[in-house]
């Protein structure tokens, strides 16, 4: 546990020691702002809630989270520091979870910096802040899910571009799995998969958080989703660390 936090602390410090943190946070906030206010018709809707904000957040994460995770392991491989890190007396699991927690903590910081949206909507009306809090929790879990995918895929390559594209593609699949385009196509051809697609979809789970519903089965879903990918990450590191 202690080692996990030491790794996470170092990793998180790394984001802020380089322009990565500043660039990511600025782009995230600008993109999220533009989408919410312009495409989302935040003001014209005349409703005191953050629905437009939360509608766009999985898509913004889809684009930006792979940009964080692509360097997570690929960079260690390229610099050779993976050899240093994994010959220190820590287990691979501690290293994997530590790096993941750092990236997740970083996303949480970026997410927390969207607080002006909450202030704005509270100034303009009387929103249900419980629903907003539940939406934020959902957003954080979506970020965690995408991060775990990106982290595992980053471990499989030393090329950051490949890590980025793979993570984007896989996260996209999980994001759109419940969309009618996909489910209708699947139910026409393989009905079994259509039901499965709906169940593994990140977007569908997130939607219930934005309605203010925090269901145990959704929490279990995100926990097992993240757990699965981090386990895969550890296995990939174990088998390919020296490649």
């Amino acid at each position: 546990m202690r080692n996990t936090f030491i790794v996470a602390h170092r990793e998180l410090g790394g984001y802020f020691a380089t322009p990565v943190a500043a660039v990511f946070i600025v782009i995230f906030l600008a993109l999220q702002g533009a989408l919410t206010f312009n495409l989302g018709n935040f003001f014209d809707r005349n409703q005191a809630d953050l629905a437009p904000f939360f509608n766009f957040i999985p898509w913004v994460f889809l684009l930006l989270v792979p940009a964080i995770t692509m360097r997570l392991w690929a960079e260690e491989r390229r610099l050779g520091t993976i050899e240093l890190l994994l010959t220190l007396p820590i287990t691979q699991g501690q290293a994997v979870v530590g790096k993941f927690l750092a990236a997740w903590g970083f996303c949480a910081i970026a997410l927390a910096l969207t607080f002006p949206f909450v202030l704005t909507v509270n100034y303009l009306g009387a929103p249900d802040n419980g629903v907003i809090a539940s939406g934020y929790l959902g957003a954080l879990l979506v970020a965690g899910a995408f991060l775990s995918v990106g982290s595992a895929l980053s471990a499989a390559t030393k090329n950051q571009v490949i890590a980025f594209v793979l993570a984007l593609a896989v996260c996209f699949v999980f994001a759109v799995a419940s969309y009618p385009v996909v489910t209708e196509f699947l139910s026409r051809n393989t009905p079994v998969l259509a039901e499965l697609a709906r169940r593994v979809s990140v977007a569908e789970r997130f939607a219930s958080f934005t309605r203010g519903v925090i269901a145990l089965r959704d929490l279990v879903y995100f926990a097992s989703f993240i757990g699965f990918w981090l386990f895969l990450n550890t296995v990939i590191i174990e088998h390919r660390k020296a490649d």
Binding site: I6, V7, G13, G14, T18, G80, L84, L86, P89, A242
Partner: protein, 243 residues
């Protein structure tokens, strides 16, 4: 008492290619073993297996009695390892980097400060403690890697090309340091510089194509060539015999 490093039938295969072929030897306390061989002979692969970064295909090694296959964590705790090229996190300062390694090694508070100060003093890094590693010259980077390996005062030191890229004065310093530490440790260094073997090693092993071709003291090795030069012995042993 058993030797600090015991290697038994250590073998590493990459597909059909045998990088390290059934190597066995022991290193006792007080020995400085020079590990020589042409590029690609299997030096780094052997050292990586000792440090727990690569898993042997067969055979094993014990560091202070801890098997690297079954008690990897305990083996890594008793070992200081300088990976090839001395990789370090470029954005961290020397001090932050050493503190990170020290924390992972289980030190904290005043003890951590003392350990870091000691390692900094031994490798004469005091002047650059607060500089990011990426701004340092090659020689300094190498010493940062060395300082990291010395933090916990391990009984076993595995140094992959510790003097590569250092100027003659720095080389002299590192050799002096190794000679000073010799009495209470078992040290393995790999090198291309044959004069170094003469200067610091009590014993030399030459490997070629993954096999040990010579294991003797430097002065014994010199006697094997008519010229009495290590260079000639090295060429004799590692070049394919002209038929």
């Amino acid at each position: 008492m058993a030797a600090l490093i015991e290697i038994e039938g250590l073998t590493k295969r990459f597909g059909a290619f045998v990088a390290v072929d059934n190597i066995s030897f022991n290193v006792e306390r007080g020995e400085v073993l020079g590990f020589l061989g042409p590029n690609g002979a299997g030096k780094s692969t052997t050292m990586r297996m000792l440090a727990g970064f690569m898993t042997p295909s067969s055979g094993t090694a014990r560091i202070c009695g801890h098997d690297v296959r079954t008690r990897s964590l305990a083996a890594r705790k008793s070992l200081g390892f300088l990976p090839e090229g001395a990789p370090t996190y470029p954005e961290m300062t020397v001090l932050a980097f050493l503190q990170f390694c020290g924390r992972i090694r289980g030190f904290s508070g005043a003890e951590l400060g003392r350990r870091v100060d000691r390692a900094v003093a031994m490798t004469t890094l005091a002047g650059v403690r607060l500089q990011p590693v990426e701004t340092l010259s090659k020689g300094f980077k190498r010493r940062v890697g060395l300082a990291q390996a010395l933090l916990h005062d391990p009984e076993v030191l595995i140094l992959d090309e510790p003097t590569d890229g250092l100027d003659p004065n720095q080389k002299h310093e590192v050799r002096k340091l190794i000679a000073e530490m010799r009495a209470e440790k078992a040290i393995v260094i790999s090198t291309h510089i044959l004069e170094e073997v003469d200067a610091v090693c009590t014993r030399a092993i030459i490997i070629a194509n993954g096999r040990i071709v010579a294991d003797a003291t430097p002065s014994e090795l010199q006697l094997r060539a008519a010229s009495g030069k290590l260079d000639d012995v090295f060429r004799d042993l590692t070049l394919p015999k002209a038929a």
